[in-house]
């Protein structure tokens, strides 16, 4: 019985081969080959930049360090976008708000 199932499963990868040119697929998953639009990709794990630097304190006076963490419009970027860890995000928001107060960073884009 088990031997019969193996040839049954084998054909699907065949049709998926011609469909493959759309993009390299690491492995044909059951159900995966049939749908062309969906492609599973491995998201790169984002690492907290402050943890990498082993930062104990985020200085609000260094606007150039804080700048990558705000949007063009002046909003603070969420953690899920930047990959900052919870602790550093907490410090970061405080630092950004202080910097905004002393006009080192904008509250909102002008005009």
């Amino acid at each position: 019985m088990a031997e019969e199932h193996v040839p049954m499963q084998a054909p699907p990868p065949g049709p998926s081969g011609p469909a493959g040119p759309g993009g390299p697929r690491p492995q044909g998953r059951p159900g995966g080959p049939a749908k062309r639009g969906k492609r599973s990709f491995v998201r790169k794990k984002k690492v907290c930049r402050f943890c990498v630097d082993k930062a104990d304190y985020i200085d609000y006076k260094k606007a150039e360090i804080l700048a990558p963490f705000i949007q063009e419009r002046g909003k603070i970027l969420p953690r899920r976008m930047t990959g900052t860890c919870a602790r550093h995000q907490r410090w970061l928001t405080v630092a950004i708000k202080r910097a905004q107060n002393i006009a080192l960073l904008p509250f909102a884009a002008e005009l």
């Binding site: 104990d56 304190y57 006076k61 202080r98 905004q100 107060n101 002393i102 006009a103 080192l104 960073l105």
Partner: protein, 139 residues
């Protein structure tokens, strides 16, 4: 009471002459010592572009100073003076000693861990002796 540390930043109008800025700094220093505080350092960042317009101006002359004091009265007095001063457009006082304390604590913690790590990695070394034992057994 424990000594507190503050960051004091103020922005002067960009067209104020240098001597006048020095005068503002001098009065602040004087006021601080009078109230029992101490200005540790003064750092003139100079003219720089502000992130948004303040009093319709795009640039400002930044002055940064570190203040140490045992009570908050000093800050109150200094802020009052900054508010009164015509040259000053904007100011900010931030109490920092607690954050510095935290920073210190984390640093010490990390150093302790770093000091302990060699001992932790040491147990990983044993494979070598065991292989040596095996070699001895084989011999």
């Amino acid at each position: 009471m424990e000594e507190r540390q503050y960051d004091l930043i103020f922005i002067c109008r960009p067209d104020t002459p240098e001597p006048e800025i020095d005068k503002v700094i001098a009065t602040l220093e004087h006021a601080a010592t009078e109230k029992g505080g101490k200005i540790e350092s003064v750092n003139k960042w100079g003219r720089r572009r502000m992130a948004y317009r303040v009093q319709k101006l795009r640039e400002g002359y930044y002055v940064y100073m570190v203040l140490k004091s045992t009570h908050g009265e000093v800050v109150k007095e200094l802020e009052r003076r900054l508010k009164v001063s015509d040259a000053v457009m904007k100011y900010l006082t931030v109490r920092l000693d607690e954050e510095l304390k935290r920073q210190d604590k984390l640093k010490r913690h990390r150093e302790r861990r770093a000091a302990r790590r060699p001992r932790k990695t040491a147990p990983a070394a044993p494979p070598l002796p065991t292989s040596g034992d095996q070699a001895a057994a084989q011999a």
